[in-house]
């Protein structure tokens, strides 16, 4: 993949979102957070296939580029499960060496209450999966399950599950899908390398970190515009040092999350080194922390104006409050880092911090 293709993809997504993904359009998708027509336009641009190998009709977009695309989508609050459909699903089918199914494909990264039984020619699936992104809208669902010491990719169709609706703080569908003794064909059960499910979870964390950075950029942009337009005591809010200091704090946390997410994207594909997991865990920790801080500052400088549904700030901030808890919150990832650092001992901390995966 060349830089030109990357620029092309980013430009075409930006143009589409600028023209089509207006706050009114986002508002109209409040119930479930999915705009089928916008998603169709994204598919017409082939963006949902960008991460696939060329042989599968993609352009092998690398992870840093995919994260940039997700950031961009998030900065427009695009009502679609882009992380799952554009990144996780293509990644998973590439690992399994199968084609990307048609339609809206979503992914569930954790599915402890799902049980696969039987054998080739007679697969049975029972149980349920909670908080599936866009579950009620999806045509296909991909999950990675443990089976008999190995891992299997399941390609499931909407006719096979029943839906119990749920949503996150941003109104995005997070539905419970239930399977009752579903018979699966052999083409629906594909071998995966052991560890793929865990890697999928990590990829989800990098994706959400990128989306958090995108939503933060939107909250920042709205805040900057607002404080320059809004006048109090005879001056624009931007001229008050108290406001400037708050927005400088937001910028610092945002850049920390942004750089850390970029580094996690760079190292994800590389050979597994200790630093890789540290980058991913640090990215989600920093992005989650910046989300809370950034949302607080953005609302504070907007005053009561940002506190209602009449002003689009909430499209960004409710996503910040939702996404920081998905694919592991700061506590989950920081504790993982802490346990590894403690196990390695103090002398190993600096070598770990300076490790670079190549």
């Amino acid at each position: 993949m060349s830089d030109e293709i990357g620029t092309l993809l980013l430009d075409s997504l930006e143009r589409l979102l600028r023209d089509q993904c207006t706050p009114e359009r986002v508002e109209a998708s409040e119930e479930g957070g999915f705009d089928a027509e916008l998603w169709q336009q994204i598919c017409e641009l082939e963006l949902h296939r960008a991460a696939l190998p060329e042989a599968q009709g993609g352009v092998e977009a690398d992870l840093p580029l995919m994260i940039e695309l997700l950031q961009l989508a998030a900065s427009y609050s695009l009502p679609a499960p882009v992380a799952e459909a554009m990144l996780l699903a293509p990644w998973l089918v590439t690992q399994a060496n199968i084609d990307l199914p048609d339609g809206l494909v979503t992914v569930a990264a954790r599915c402890d209450q799902l049980s696969l039984s039987g054998a080739a020619g007679n697969w049975q699936l029972s149980g349920d999966i909670g908080r599936v992104p866009a579950g009620r809208f999806a045509d296909q669902l991909l999950v990675a399950v443990s089976f008999d010491g190995a891992e299997k990719l399941l390609i499931l169709e909407s006719s096979q599950w029943t839906v119990e609706v749920g949503k996150n703080l941003a109104g995005e569908a997070r539905d419970r899908l239930s399977f009752s003794n579903q018979q699966l064909t052999d083409t629906q059960v594909v071998d995966l390398a052991v560890g793929t499910a865990e890697k999928l979870w990590q990829l989800g964390a990098v994706a959400r970190s990128g989306q958090l950075v995108g939503a933060l950029r939107r909250a920042q942009e709205l805040s900057h515009n607002y404080v320059q337009e809004r006048t109090q005591f005879g001056r624009p809010l931007a001229k008050f040092q108290a406001i400037q200091q708050q927005l400088a704090l937001l910028a610092a946390d945002l850049e920390a999350a942004s750089v850390m997410t970029g580094l996690a994207a760079l190292s994800f594909d590389k050979a597994t080194a200790a630093g890789d997991l540290l980058d991913i865990a640090s990215a989600k920790t920093q992005a989650g922390q910046a989300a809370g801080m950034g949302a607080r500052i953005a609302h504070q400088v907007h005053g009561a104006m940002g506190f209602t549904q009449e002003y689009p700030l909430h499209h960004a901030t409710r996503r910040l409050w939702s996404w920081r808890d998905e694919y592991g919150n700061e506590s989950v990832w920081a504790t993982l880092i802490g346990s590894q650092v403690v196990a390695a001992g103090g002398e190993q901390l600096w070598p770990l911090l300076t490790s670079t995966s190549r």
């Binding site: 900057h224 400037q244 850049e255 760079l266 920093q286 802490g338 670079t356």
Partner: protein, 382 residues
């Protein structure tokens, strides 16, 4: 205006150098030639240690060979500085000269000045202090009142400078002062001079830190006469020169690693049996460190490419200096500690060094409030 840092990693070629520095530090520690400490880039003055670094080619690393330098990349220098800081090594003697006085000389000095100072600095035989702040001129540097009056063949200097680290032990400082009376343009009429701290008319008074250590000084300049050849750069260009010096001063790893040895020490004290709550606190600190280092390397890489990420450097310094103080506050609560200066217990000693130096972290090199003002301007808010 976008404020944006592109994530960068250090080139693989720096790893050999990193290992050389680690081997050197291991040998120094084995021979008990230094005791790791916190904030040793301010408080660890050891001429012999600095000289040994010079012997390894680690002072003046990026300077041209014709001035005693080694023509290494800025990223090579980054590796050496971060290794020294993480080890808590005593690097204060050469820190200021290597970081900013040398680069200023290279940029603004005459050929004769470069020949006079740079080779001696790179070989660890000549050391510098900073002469910027004054009793009435801290954040508002342009209000400096120290002045230089033109005399035949040179200048007569009068005034007072403060916070001059190690001025009582080093050879020279770069004096920032007025060469013209203040006018409507507050930044006009300011200049820099290279001044020998042993000159007649210089009096140096200690300003002890909260720990009782003597690093800072007040320097009285009373009718000190210097030649025309001591003017650094152009007369009247002092403001532009000094602000470019600040860019060097703000972008380095010393802005988040001052207390790092205390984190290593608490991990040693905790051993393998930290509980989940302790792991969480440690994990959050390590995540922030990883991010700050990523940002700092990204600034260094941008500088190396000839960009001027001044706003980004201010942003990283704001975040990093808040972090290095917050970190020891959290370490303190991970277990029961009784910080004591000079304690035999490593953690208690390092925490004491950290707390008694901590107020300076978010003041030196531009207060965090000033830095956030720089960021706000970069964001287009001022």
């Amino acid at each position: 205006m976008p404020v944006r840092l592109n994530p960068a990693v250090l080139p693989a070629a720096t790893e050999t150098l990193r290992q050389q520095v680690r081997d050197f530090l291991a040998a120094e520690l084995a021979a008990k030639r230094f005791v790791p400490g916190c904030d040793k880039w301010l408080g660890g003055f050891d001429l012999e240690f600095s000289k040994r670094l010079a012997d390894n080619g680690w002072l003046g690393m990026t300077w041209p060979k014709q001035y005693g330098g080694h023509e290494r990349s800025a990223l090579d220098r980054y590796v050496v500085t971060e290794e020294l800081l993480a080890a808590g090594a005593p690097v204060a003697a050469h820190w200021v000269g290597d970081r900013q006085s040398g680069p200023s000389l290279l940029r603004y000095g005459t050929e004769q000045q470069k020949q006079q100072y740079l080779p001696a600095m790179a070989s660890g035989e000549h050391y510098f202090a900073i002469g910027m702040s004054e009793p009435g001129s801290g954040s508002d540097l342009a209000s400096a009142r120290t002045k230089a009056d033109k005399i035949d063949g040179g200048w007569r200097l009068n005034g007072r400078k403060i916070w001059c680290s190690s001025a009582h032990r080093v050879d020279s400082f770069i004096l920032f002062c007025r060469t013209q009376a203040p006018s409507d343009d507050r930044h006009a009429g300011l200049s820099q001079f290279l001044v020998d701290l042993k000159s007649p008319g210089i009096t140096i008074r200690p300003m002890n830190l909260l720990s009782g250590e003597h690093h800072f000084n007040e320097v009285f300049i009373d009718n000190v006469e210097v030649g025309d050849d001591c003017l650094l750069g152009k007369e009247g260009d002092g403001w532009a020169q000094v602000t470019s010096e600040l860019a060097f001063e703000r972008s380095g790893p010393e802005r988040f690693l001052s207390t790092f040895p205390a984190l290593v020490a608490v991990l040693k004290r905790l051993g393998r049996d930290a509980d989940r709550g302790q792991q969480l606190v440690i994990g959050r600190m390590v995540a922030q460190l990883r991010a700050l280092r990523g940002m700092s390397v990204s600034v260094a890489a941008a500088l190396d490419k000839g960009e001027a990420p001044n706003v980004e450097a201010a942003l990283v310094k704001d975040l990093g200096t808040r972090f290095e103080g917050d970190m020891v506050e959290q370490i303190r609560l991970l277990l029961e500690t009784q910080p004591e200066y000079g304690s035999d217990d490593e953690l208690d000693r390092l925490l004491a060094e950290s707390f008694l130096h901590m107020p300076g972290f978010t003041l030196r090199g531009g207060t965090n409030e000033i830095l956030r003002g720089v960021v706000a301007r970069g964001l287009g808010l001022r």
